[in-house]
């Protein structure tokens, strides 16, 4: 029996189209190229390139952003979770504005905090909620990895 990890490797095994889509660019655009080999002409491969994000600096983008801002109702908007604001705040400080603290230290602290909350017992209720959301988004990834390491150890 072969153990194929669910995500990434699970393209044809119920990994879902999101998965295939997410690793498509790696399969089609990375990997070793041997120059004396010939690439089969691949119709449709350029579709991928078109999807590369368009540079933000264009009049169309400006107007779209302005419109989206005009539509926002700031008063009734839900407040972003405080931790998120902290992290964004921290990483922003390393940005073009150059305040005192860097992205590295900010994100580093953030990680230490959550490693504690994931491994430790001092979870706050709101932390639990977020964890559930994140885990729903990425099912079976960690367990599939364990299967893989287990299969390696058996050899």
């Amino acid at each position: 029996m072969s153990v194929v990890p669910q995500s990434g490797g699970g393209l044809a095994r119920g990994g879902g189209s999101a998965n295939l889509y997410d690793v498509l660019e790696l399969i089609l655009d990375r990997g070793l190229v041997i120059d004396i080999f010939i690439r089969v002409s691949l119709v449709g491969i350029e579709i991928l390139k078109i999807d590369i994000r368009i540079v933000v600096a264009s009049v169309d983008t400006y107007l779209r952003f302005a419109e989206a801002c005009n539509r926002l109702d700031l008063e009734s908007g839900r407040k972003a979770p405080s931790q998120l604001t902290d992290l964004v705040g921290d990483t922003m400080e390393s940005g073009a504005r150059g305040k005192s603290k860097g992205a590295l230290s900010g994100a580093g602290e953030a990680i230490t905090d959550t490693i504690r909350s994931v491994t430790g017992k001092d979870d706050e209720p709101e932390e639990e909620e977020k964890k559930e959301t994140a885990e729903r988004r990425r099912p079976a990834r960690r367990s599939s990895r364990r299967e893989k390491s287990a299969s390696r150890e058996e050899e």
Binding site: S2, V4, P5, S7, G8, L11, A12, L20, D22, V23, L24, L28, R30, G31, L32, V33, I34, I36, F37, R39, V40, L42, I52, V56, V59, A66, A68, C69, N70, L74, G77, A80, Q83, L84, L87, D90, T91, M92, S94, G95, A96, A103, G106, A107, G108, I111, T114, S117, V118, T119, K130, R137, R138, R141, R145, K148, S149, S151, R152, E155
Partner: protein, 237 residues
């Protein structure tokens, strides 16, 4: 007879190819071509190849299987050699180089991480935190702004979006860099602000995954992290 080439492995790789099918409508069986200390995994080349789910999936499954049992250099999808002797020639002529590349990825897997942020949340943050943007937005909404105001607001906001997303991306990358051998960042696509691959050793694996998971939790609502792996080292071959 032209052959489609999937991967290069060390000669001592178990090369468990049973049950795998090659690309193309005829689903050809896989075989190996050996030269020196290296092996290439090949099949008869199909007459026609299109980047369809079935064939891309098969190419990927070969790599994934080889990764489970040892070290593999995955080739990019779609490469063929005119015949087996050309494959042998490639393995002989560039054998040292491929052996080096194989050593570089030994006991390693690739993880690819993509992330996006809810746009409305991001714009809300910007308007909350940037006084000039908020004032301009208020004026436009009140109808008291000049006709150029939307363009100025948009430019201001676009600049903020880019700066924030770039620093978020580099924050995430730097947070994970200590748990990877190598990092390969690419332009994000679609609504993503991050698209990065990490080469992670067996020893680093647990910590890398734990850190990534906690980062995703930390960013919280409004962010979507999509981690794919363990993958063959496409980005580091």
């Amino acid at each position: 007879m032209a052959v489609y080439v999937y991967s290069i492995t060390p000669k001592d790789h178990p090369l468990r190819l049973d049950g795998l099918e090659g690309v193309g409508a005829s689903s050809p069986p896989l075989r190996t071509v050996t030269a020196g200390l290296l092996c290439a995994v090949v099949s008869d080349a199909p007459e026609e190849l299109r980047p369809k789910r079935r064939d891309i999936g098969r190419h990927q499954e070969v790599q994934q299987r080889l990764l489970e049992d040892g070290t593999v250099l995955p080739l990019r999808f779609g490469y063929t050699a005119p015949d087996e002797s050309t494959v042998r020639q490639a393995l002989e002529e560039r054998g040292d180089e491929y052996a080096d590349r194989l050593r570089r990825v030994e006991n390693c897997v690739e993880y690819n991480l993509k992330a996006s942020q809810d746009e409305e949340m991001l714009l809300r943050e910007i308007l909350t935190e940037s006084e000039p943007a908020r004032r301009l937005n208020d004026e436009i909404r009140a109808g008291t702004a000049d006709p150029d105001a939307p363009l100025r607001l948009g430019e201001m906001v676009a600049g903020e979006v880019q700066a924030r997303q770039e620093s978020l991306a580099s924050g995430v990358i730097e947070a994970l860099r200590p748990f990877a051998q190598e990092v390969d960042s690419s332009p994000p696509t679609g609504a993503d602000f991050l698209n990065v691959s990490f080469l992670v050793t067996d020893e680093q694996d647990e910590l890398f995954l734990a850190t990534e998971l906690s980062l995703a939790h930390q960013m919280g609502e409004g962010f979507e992290f999509r981690l794919n792996g363990p993958l063959p080292p496409y980005s580091f071959s």
